[in-house]
């Protein structure tokens, strides 16, 4: 037995002296865990095909694409597309502004909404009623914007919809919510809240259950009414969650909700409703301006990644756990 041990130690010493020992060691590790790699490698291949191969297409942003010549042989135009977008195209600035504005509206109104609803739901005393209310509130989240837009179009119809019917009863003229540039963005935000407010309360309600009840008891002894309790105990306790979610949503500011807008918009409201993604679709897929719209997509991607990294850094600096 001991002879074998001594022999083994000697042979390990010998291996370390060889020059290719690093590669051999790595290969040995791979062989040792080969089953893990049998599992992992096909998936890596999938990522290579479906996520990394398209990155090659980003070259289109710098070329004048001709389908006959293919990506590689199409003429190189450098930053021409970007120069066009920023300095010559009247559309792009408007689209960029729309995207930012719509995202901001979504955040100003849509971000506090689930918080308020969560606080209200928390006040409910009857458990069964609270559960039913929650279940109902989650429901619109599970439908696609195709379904929900179909419903919204009927509800907001100027001739047949109940919203305009109620307005009519108080003497207001019918409003073409979906075709009126003054009302379209508000409609987007309102229907967006309808869809996501319930789902958004889940995290806040979970956080609310984690607040120490003795804090509330102490507040009651000090004579605080319900409103003061919420202001001085509940909200500050929710602050970490609120902060993280707010900063994360900042990272997605250039995604203003393509699904929703694409299904609700129409040419009458393009000037207020067109966002980066809808423009890329119309000019790119339908209009086949591959080079230009790839440039737009690249711009959006780079800003997006900068925002995500930046906001993640801020979150970490504030002492919270980041996403990355």
């Amino acid at each position: 037995m001991s002879n074998v041990n001594i022999t083994k130690i000697e042979s390990v010493n010998k291996k370390v002296e060889r020059e290719d020992s690093k590669w051999a060691a790595t290969w040995r590790e791979y062989k040792k865990n080969r089953y893990l790699f049998f599992m992992l490698i096909p998936v890596i291949v999938w990522y290579a095909i479906f996520h990394y191969a398209p990155l090659y297409g980003i070259l289109l942003a710098f070329k004048d694409f001709s389908p006959m010549l293919g990506i590689l042989h199409s003429p190189w135009v450098g930053l021409d597309h970007f120069k066009f977008l920023f300095f010559q195209s009247p559309d792009f600035m408007r689209i960029f502004l729309n995207t930012l504005l719509i995202s901001c509206y979504h955040m100003i109104f849509g971000f506090p909404a689930p918080i308020i609803l969560a606080l209200l739901l928390n006040e409910l005393r009857f458990g069964w009623f609270k559960r039913i209310a929650q279940t109902i509130s989650y429901l619109p989240h599970f439908f696609s914007w195709v379904v929900l837009s179909g419903i919204v179009i009927v509800m907001l119809s100027p001739s047949e919809g109940p919203v305009n019917y109620l307005l009519n009863m108080v003497g207001i003229e019918p409003i073409y919510f979906l075709a009126d540039t003054d009302y379209f963005r508000s409609t987007l935000v309102g229907t967006g809240i309808w869809k996501e407010i319930g789902w958004g309360t889940i995290i806040y309600l979970a956080a609310l259950t984690g607040i120490d009840p003795t804090l509330y008891e102490a507040a009651v002894i000090d004579g605080a009414n319900r409103r003061k309790q919420i202001w001085y105990i509940t909200l500050p306790s929710l602050l970490p969650v609120i902060t993280i979610l707010f900063i994360l949503s900042l990272g997605g500011i250039l995604n203003a909700g393509f699904d929703q807008i694409f299904n609700l918009y129409n040419p009458a409201v393009y000037e207020v409703a067109d966002i980066i993604d809808t423009y890329v679709y119309r000019a790119g897929i339908v209009g086949a301006q591959f080079g230009l719209t790839t440039a737009v997509g690249l711009f959006k991607n780079v800003i997006g990644i900068a925002l995500v990294l930046g906001t993640n850094y801020v979150v970490k600096k504030m002492g919270q756990e980041g996403v990355l």
């Binding site: 999938w46 191969a53 195709v146 305009n164 719209t293």
Partner: protein, 265 residues
């Protein structure tokens, strides 16, 4: 909150006079099932339904398998170059080719007009996979170690120990994937022109939003135009009902799962 659904449901079974009545609809004052008959008689609605079911079932099933195959190795600390592999996968969550390069890729792969375009490009939802990986990482190491002492290789450990313990997480991820597949419409619109392979959501879109499906809307006969509102409503309800039926049973998985995912459980 749910009034809009009641409104649509009521209109779908209302007579034309009642359907176009300007007002609040909660229940139909005059019942007429013609719209539903018209919708259910459309063959394309049923092919759409079938394609959606195919996509949801096969897509979710394959996604679960491939996600597990990916998450398990990434969860093992002894995987060589583990950080490298995790990083290259994580990177794809933040940076991608965009609509145009992906479109060109699908074209060059020959996936245009193939039902596999519904399943292959979205096979591994990275966020879900990471949730699964985190869960695998939380399984006590003693279980794996004692199995290794008994001579089990990684595949056996995955199948006999790790996966059975992960049923709850897998159920949640399966539901996320199923909902995403059922509701998907954009990839179908971009890549599929063959009507026999189209999904329900796209047909719904053509009927209700773009108004381009003249056949279903019954515009061939003048008499049928009065039913347009009810036909649209019936089609919406047809797409809504499957989810409504399944929802009460699965609701608790959705909620628990979101908490797992977001609180990094």
């Amino acid at each position: 909150m749910i009034y809009p659904f009641l409104h649509i449901a009521s209109i779908s079974v209302s007579s034309p006079a009642e359907a176009s009545r300007f007002g609040i609809h909660i229940y139909p004052k005059e019942v007429d099932f013609t719209a539903w008959k018209q919708v259910l008689a459309q063959e394309k609605i049923w092919t759409g339904f079938g394609n959606s079911v195919f996509r949801t079932v096969v897509g979710t099933f394959l996604t679960l398998i491939v996600m597990s195959l990916c998450a398990y190795p990434l969860s093992r600390k002894n995987l060589p170059h583990r950080n490298f592999y995790t990083m290259i996968i994580l990177f794809t969550m933040f940076f991608g080719g965009g609509i145009i390069p992906t479109y060109l890729l699908i074209r060059s792969l020959g996936l245009m007009n193939s039902v596999w375009v519904y399943i292959l490009p979205g096979l591994v939802p990275t966020f879900s996979m990471l949730v699964l990986r985190n869960f695998f990482m939380s399984i006590p190491a003693e279980l794996e170690e004692s199995a290794k002492i008994d001579g089990a290789n990684d595949i056996r450990i995955l199948l006999t120990i790790v996966l059975p313990l992960s049923k709850a997480v897998l159920a949640t991820l399966a539901l996320w994937s199923a909902v995403a597949h059922w509701n998907a419409w954009f990839d179908a619109m971009l890549y599929i022109t063959d009507e026999s392979k189209q999904v329900l959501q796209t047909f719904l879109r053509n009927i209700v939003i773009t108004n381009s499906d003249a056949e279903t809307l019954g515009r061939s006969a003048i008499a049928n135009i009065r039913y347009e509102a009810s036909i649209k409503a019936a089609t919406i309800m047809f797409a809504v009902l499957p989810i409504l039926i399944v929802y009460p049973f699965l609701q608790k998985y959705f909620v628990k799962g979101t908490m797992i995912g977001s609180l990094k459980g």
